[in-house]
């Protein structure tokens, strides 16, 4: 197959364009931070080790502060399960995508 000069220029332009791993990781982190947000019992929560830990030390129905500093009555076991599930799911997906972009050149 013949490659004309225009195609050669485009190829050399593509080769010179480097994948910006650092920036891609910054954006990827933002993506998964957003995906950690979920609603439960009328409150907005961010799945995180802190929330999971807080729910783990509580027992039964407790009043916790949600993302917007609103006190919400929740079943701590139920919230703990949801937070753990969301956190693990998103951390796994984050890792998969992180590995994928690491392969980009």
């Amino acid at each position: 197959m013949l490659i004309n000069s225009m195609q050669t220029n485009q190829l050399s332009k593509n080769i010179k364009t480097r994948f910006d791993h650092q920036q891609a990781r910054v954006i990827l982190r933002e993506t998964y931070q957003a995906k950690m947000i979920f609603t439960h019992n009328g409150g907005m929560w961010q799945a995180s080790p802190e929330l999971i830990l807080l729910c783990s030390v509580c027992d039964g129905t407790v009043v916790l502060e949600d993302y917007y500093n609103t006190p919400i009555s929740v079943d701590s076991n139920e919230l703990c399960t949801l937070a753990k599930q969301r956190w693990q799911e998103q951390m796994n997906a984050w890792q998969v995508e992180y590995e994928e972009i690491s392969k980009n050149r």
Binding site: K13, K16, T17, R18, F19, D20, Q22, Q23, A24, V26, I27, E30, T31, Q33, A34, K35, I37, F38, T39, G42, G43, M44, Q46, Y67, Y68, N69, A93, E97, I101, N104
Partner: protein, 262 residues
């Protein structure tokens, strides 16, 4: 409770109605909610569950787009009518150049927060999010690009009423806050409305918990299946990144037009 999305599109040199079709199909794909289009000329597209025809009005803005290398007409007046025109109790109001790529907005629609929008913004090629400020008072800017609201809530109703008041008296508010009144910006009108309705305090309860991801007008975008490729120049070096699962506010309309064959 009814939940749905509202997209405004008034065609000029840029065919916003075509962008709205792409925007709506993404809303359906990722959020699975009905979409209503607000326009001046009905559009032949099945993706909209409802179309509301309104008069476009005579007022226009002119805005220079780097990617088009030309000044373009921009009909952005009357956005405050979203509350009255929305057939839904809880509405997602989005700009037609906002490309959804995941369902992160769903918890916002299912929450009890009466009014939500972005305050933090991050340019796709910048390391950190920032808060834009405007006028001589450095008033924080809240973005009208994505707004989630509950129309039955009193605070929401007040915000839209003040938004209208600011639009109708834009010169006065521009003088008061110390910014140029030459070009009407919904972001400014919304920011002033939120500030006034919240007793001159930053309405932190209205902030979407992640930054709006902006692709500025000087950045090239292309889309291959579910992956967006972003090409930019950093310190004279050509760089690129790929983005898959994050919503993007694509400000370079010409790339969107190219992508969707408009």
């Amino acid at each position: 409770m009814t939940i749905g999305a509202l997209v405004f599109a008034f065609d000029s040199e840029i065919l916003y109605s075509k962008l709205a079709i792409e925007c709506a199909s993404r809303i359906k794909k990722h959020l699975d909610i009905p979409v209503t289009l607000v326009t001046d000329t009905p559009v032949d597209a099945d993706v909209f569950d409802k179309q509301v025809t309104v008069e476009r009005g005579n007022d226009t803005n002119r805005r220079f787009f780097i990617d088009r290398d030309a000044s373009t007409t921009w009909f952005n007046f009357g956005r405050y009518r979203a509350m009255e025109l929305s057939p839904y109790k809880r509405t997602l109001l989005v700009d037609s150049d906002y490309m959804l790529n995941n369902n992160a907005i769903l918890p916002l629609l299912n929450s009890r927060q009466p009014f939500l929008c972005h305050r933090q913004v991050q340019s796709i090629n910048h390391a950190k999010p920032r808060i834009e400020k405007f006028g001589i008072k450095n008033t924080h800017m809240w973005w009208a690009t994505v707004v989630v609201f509950d129309k039955t809530n009193r605070f929401t109703q007040d915000v839209f009423a003040v938004w209208q008041m600011v639009e109708e008296n834009y010169k006065h508010y521009a003088d008061l806050f110390g910014f140029s009144s030459k070009q009407f910006r919904n972001d400014y009108a919304l920011s002033i409305a939120l500030l006034l309705c919240n007793g001159n305090l930053h309405p932190t309860q209205c902030e979407i918990p992640w930054p709006l991801l902006n692709v500025d007008t000087d950045i090239e975008v292309s889309n291959i299946s579910d992956t967006w490729w972003i090409d930019y120049t950093d310190k004279n070096k050509k760089k690129k990144i790929s983005v898959r699962n994050h919503d993007l506010h694509i400000m370079c309309k010409s790339y969107l037009e190219k992508l969707y064959g408009i």
